[in-house]
C-alpha cells in the first residue's frame, strides 16, 4: 500500500476503508501504469490542458465583462471529470454538474460551443436559453446540469433504469459536490439505485467547500464516502487530482455497473482553487491551504507521472499547450462571430412537438 498523499492532519480528511473492504487508492501507482496505455494517458493530459485553457479564457472574458452572467470553473479539479468521462463508452450517458467541463469536452462538446454558450449566442447548445455550464445534448449522451444540486442524481438513476429495463449494457455516470450530498435527492437517488441495482456511478467532487461552507459545517462525517454505507453501496475514495487514479476507479465502477452489479459511490478528494464562481474571491479559504494544494495541481501531477513512466517529455507538454491555446483562440473567434438570438426566440421550445426528440 502506498502512503496517502492527502494527509489527515492537513485536510481533516484522508483514506478510509471503502465499502468493498479494499484500501482506497490515492494516486498513480506502478500497477496503474500497466493499466493505462500511453495514448490514453496522453489524450487525458490533452483534455486536462484543454479544460484548463478553456476555463482560463472564460475567467478572462468574465473579468473583461464580456460574459452576461456568472462563470464557474473546475480549476484544479479537472482530473475528476476528464478521468470519469474518459472511462465511458460512446453510448454511455453522463449527468454532470458545474465543475465537470472536462467531461463535456471528452464527450465531444467543442470549446466553441462552450464559449458561444457563455456569450449567450445562438450557436451554443442551448441557443442562448441557458448560460455557462448548463448545457446538454442527448446525441452526445449528456444530460444538462440543473443548478439545484443533486437534482440530476434521481434523473441519472432513471436513465440507468431505462437501460436496465431494455437489457442494455449502457451505464450512467453522475457527479455532484460535497454540498450536494446534503440534499434529499442525493439520498433518494442512492437508495433507489442501490435497491434496484441500477447501472449508475455516483461521483462526488469533494472540494471541501460548498460556496463558503466548509466540509465540517456541511456534514458530521469525515469522508463523504461514508454516506454510501447507509445504502449498502460500495464506495471508493480517490485522489481527485490524479487523472489516472480517477480514470481507473471510474473504470472499475463502470464495469461493475455494466456487469449488472449495481451502483458505486466514488469520492474524489480535491480542492476548489477558485471561488464558488468567478465573482467570489473566496477569502474564507485559508491561503496556506490553497498554497499547499497548488503543488498538487492535476496538470503538474499528470506531467510528473507521464515523465516518470516515460510516456512524455517537456517538449510534448509544450506542444500540447500550444495546440490547446490555438484551439481556444479559434473557438473564441467562432463564438464571437456567432449571432445572438433575437428576442422573440425566447418564446420557442417551451413544449416539445410531436416529433420524438429524446434518445431512441
Amino acid at each position: 500500500m502506498n502512503t496517502p498523499i492527502i494527509e489527515r492532519d492537513q485536510q481533516g480528511v484522508g483514506a478510509v476503508e471503502n465499502g468493498s473492504g479494499a484500501k482506497a487508492s490515492l494516486h498513480g501507482t506502478k500497477e496503474d501504469r500497466m493499466k493505462i496505455a500511453k495514448a490514453d494517458y496522453l489524450q487525458m493530459y490533452y483534455y486536462l490542458r484543454l479544460t484548463r485553457a478553456l476555463e482560463d479564457r472564460v475567467t478572462v472574458l468574465y473579468r473583461q465583462g464580456r460574459i452576461a452572467g456568472g462563470a464557474y470553473t473546475s480549476h484544479g479539479m479537472e482530473a475528476i471529470s476528464v478521468g470519469y468521462a474518459y472511462a465511458l463508452h460512446a453510448d454511455d450517458v453522463i449527468a454532470p454538474y458545474h465543475r465537470d467541463m472536462g467531461a463535456y469536452l471528452v464527450r465531444g462538446i467543442t470549446p466553441g460551443e462552450v464559449l458561444a454558450q457563455y456569450l449567450g449566442k445562438r450557436t451554443g447548445p442551448t441557443k442562448g436559453k441557458d448560460g455557462n455550464v448548463h448545457l446538454g445534448d442527448l446525441r452526445r449522451g449528456i444530460i444538462a446540469f440543473v443548478s439545484h444540486l443533486a437534482d440530476n442524481l434521481p434523473v441519472a438513476a432513471g436513465a440507468a433504469l431505462a437501460f436496465k429495463l431494455r437489457g442494455e449494457t449502457r451505464v450512467v455516470v453522475t457527479n455532484t459536490g460535497d454540498g450536494g450530498t446534503s440534499r434529499g435527492d442525493f439520498h433518494e437517488a442512492l437508495n433507489f439505485a442501490s435497491v434496484r441495482k441500477l447501472p449508475v456511478v455516483f461521483f462526488c467532487n469533494n472540494n471541501q467547500y460548498a460556496y463558503s461552507t466548509p466540509l465540517h459545517l456541511q456534514m458530521a462525517i469525515r469522508d463523504v464516502a461514508e454516506r454510501a454505507k447507509a445504502y449498502a453501496m460500495p464506495s471508493e475514495i480517490v485522489d481527485g487530482n490524479d487523472v489516472g487514479a480517477v480514470y481507473l476507479a471510474a473504470q472499475r465502477a463502470i464495469e461493475r455497473a455494466r456487469r449488472g452489479e449495481g451502483p458505486t459511490f466514488i469520492e474524489c478528494k480535491t480542492m476548489r482553487m477558485h471561488g464558488h464562481s468567478e465573482h467570489d474571491s473566496a477569502k474564507y479559504v485559508p491561503r496556506a491551504l490553497l498554497e499547499e494544494w497548488k503543488k498538487k495541481d492535476p496538470i503538474l501531477k499528470a506531467e510528473r507521472i507521464l515523465r516518470e513512466w516515460g510516456y512524455a517529455t517537456d517538449s510534448d507538454f509544450q506542444a500540447v499547450q500550444q495546440r490547446v491555446i490555438k484551439e481556444i483562440d479559434t473557438a473564441l473567434e467562432f463564438a464571437e462571430r456567432s449571432p445572438l438570438p433575437e428576442g422573440p426566440e425566447a418564446l420557442d421550445g417551451v413544449y416539445a412537438d410531436s416529433e420524438r426528440e429524446g434518445l431512441a
Binding site: E336, R337, P339, E342, G343, P344, L347
Partner: protein, 389 residues
C-alpha cells in the same frame, strides 16, 4: 315613443347654455330639422333643429333658464308607445362621449351593453332595465332593438328604427399568432436598424423565357442564378453589419420569401451557388410546399445571407421590400409581362420585369447596389442558360 332634445355642445369650451325661446308650443308638431328652439351660449345665439318629426310632448327647461351642456331640454313624441319616464331627475342626464349613446351620470352600463349601444346607436334612456336595481342588461338592449325593428318596418320615418335595422357588421378582432408577432417584431426591427434604400432595374426576360418554356420552369430559379452571379461579383451584398465590421459571408444561402396561410416564411436554399437551374427549381418547389404545409425544419429557415421575394405573382410591378435581418439586401421580383420597348430606334415587344433591390445604406452605397443590379440584369438577359441547367 319619445326622444330627448338636448342642450348641445356649441363650441369646445362651452359648458352651459340658456334657452332663449321655444319656437314650437307644447304638444305642437314639428318636422325633422325644423327649428324647435333658440339657445344662447356666451355670445352665440342659435336655432336648434328638431332631431325628428313629432310633437313637442314635454318642455323641461323654461325660457330664460341656463343649464349644463347635455341637459335634456324637452321631449319629442315621435309615434309608437310612449315610454315610461325614468325616475331619476332629468337634469342629472347628460350626454357622454360614446357616439350615439346617452349615459346617465353615476349609472353603470356593462361592457356588453355599451358595445351594443355604440354598435346600434341606441339611446339607453329609451330602455327600461330589468336587471338588479333596474340595471339595463344586454338582454334588455336586444329586446329593445327587436321592438325597434318592428316599429321601423311600420313607420318609414322612424330614424332610430332605421339605425337599428342597419345591422352594421361588428368589428372582428383577429388574435395575434406567434408568427404574426414575430413578423411584426422583425419587420419593425429591420426598418429601425437598417437604412433602407431601394433601386429598380428593368430587365428583358426574353432569353430566360426561351429556356424557361422549354423546361417548364418558373422565373425564380433563373433569378436565383443571376443573384448568385451578382453576389460572386459583389460579395459585399452577401454580408451582415456587425459592430466590429462588415461580416462578408462565406456561403451564399438564398432565402426565398413564401406566403403561407397566416403569414410569411423565408426558407433558405443553402449554398445556392452549387446548383443548376433544374435542381434549384426542385428545391424552391419543395421548400415552398413544405413552408405552406408547416413541415420546414428549423435549420431550413436559418442562415440565409440574401433574400428574394417574388411579389410579381399577382401582378405587382415593383415593391420596396423590407430587408430580412441580419442580411444586407433583398431583391423583389415584379411581374414579367410583354411591353413595347425601343430597341435600336425600333419598337419591339419584349417580356419585361422590374427588379427592386432594397439595400442597407449603412453598408452599401447606391453605386455598389446599382453595379450589383447591373450584373444581375446582364446575367438574366445574356446568360447562356442551356449551360446552366
Amino acid at each position: 315613443m319619445a326622444i330627448d332634445i338636448i342642450m348641445p355642445q356649441l363650441g369646445e369650451t362651452v359648458a352651459e347654455g340658456t334657452v332663449i325661446k321655444w319656437l314650437v308650443p307644447q304638444n305642437g308638431h314639428v318636422e325633422k330639422d325644423q327649428p324647435i328652439l333658440e339657445v344662447e351660449t356666451d355670445k352665440v345665439a342659435l336655432e336648434i333643429p328638431a332631431p325628428a318629426s313629432g310633437a313637442l310632448s314635454e318642455i323641461l327647461v323654461r325660457e330664460g333658464e341656463t343649464v349644463a351642456v347635455g341637459t335634456v331640454l324637452g321631449r319629442l313624441e315621435i309615434g309608437g308607445q310612449p315610454v315610461e319616464t325614468r325616475s331619476q331627475s332629468d337634469t342629472e342626464r347628460r350626454q357622454e362621449g360614446l357616439a350615439g349613446t346617452s349615459v346617465k351620470e353615476g349609472e353603470h352600463f356593462s361592457p356588453a351593453v355599451r358595445r351594443l349601444a355604440k354598435e346600434y346607436g341606441v339611446d339607453l334612456y329609451q330602455i327600461r332595465g330589468t336587471g338588479a336595481g333596474g340595471r339595463i342588461t344586454k338582454t334588455d338592449v336586444l329586446a329593445y332593438l327587436e321592438r325597434q325593428r318592428g316599429i321601423a318596418s311600420g313607420s318609414p320615418s322612424g330614424e332610430i328604427g332605421d339605425r337599428a335595422a342597419q345591422e352594421t357588421p361588428a368589428d372582428r378582432l383577429i388574435p395575434l399568432t406567434s408568427m404574426r408577432r414575430t413578423i411584426a417584431q422583425r419587420m419593425v426591427e429591420s426598418r429601425r436598424t437598417a437604412a433602407h434604400a431601394t433601386t429598380f432595374f428593368e430587365v428583358d426576360f426574353r432569353a430566360v423565357d426561351t429556356c424557361r418554356t422549354q423546361h417548364n420552369l418558373t422565373y425564380l430559379p433563373f433569378v436565383v442564378h443571376a443573384v448568385v452571379q451578382g453576389l460572386r461579383a459583389y460579395p459585399i451584398l452577401n454580408s451582415s453589419w456587425t459592430d466590429e465590421g462588415i461580416l462578408c459571408k462565406g456561403a451564399i444561402n438564398i432565402g426565398i420569401a413564401v406566403a403561407v396561410e397566416d403569414g410569411l416564411l423565408v426558407p433558405v436554399i443553402a449554398r445556392a451557388d452549387r446548383y443548376g437551374l433544374l435542381t434549384l427549381a426542385k428545391m424552391i418547389a419543395d421548400l415552398a410546399h413544405r413552408a405552406r404545409t408547416k413541415q420546414l425544419k428549423p435549420d431550413e429557415v436559418q442562415g440565409g445571407t440574401f433574400s428574394i421575394t417574388n411579389h410579381g405573382g399577382m401582378g405587382s410591378v415593383f415593391s420596396t421590400p423590407i430587408i430580412h435581418q441580419p442580411q444586407i439586401a433583398i431583391l423583389g421580383v415584379g411581374a414579367v409581362c410583354k411591353r413595347a420597348v425601343v430597341l435600336d430606334d425600333a419598337i419591339a415587344i419584349r417580356p419585361i420585369g422590374i427588379l427592386s433591390l432594397s439595400f442597407d445604406h449603412r453598408v452599401i452605397d447606391g453605386a455598389t447596389a446599382d453595379r450589383f443590379m447591373h450584373k444581375v440584369k446582364d446575367c438574366l438577359e445574356h446568360e447562356r442558360w442551356e449551360h446552366h441547367l
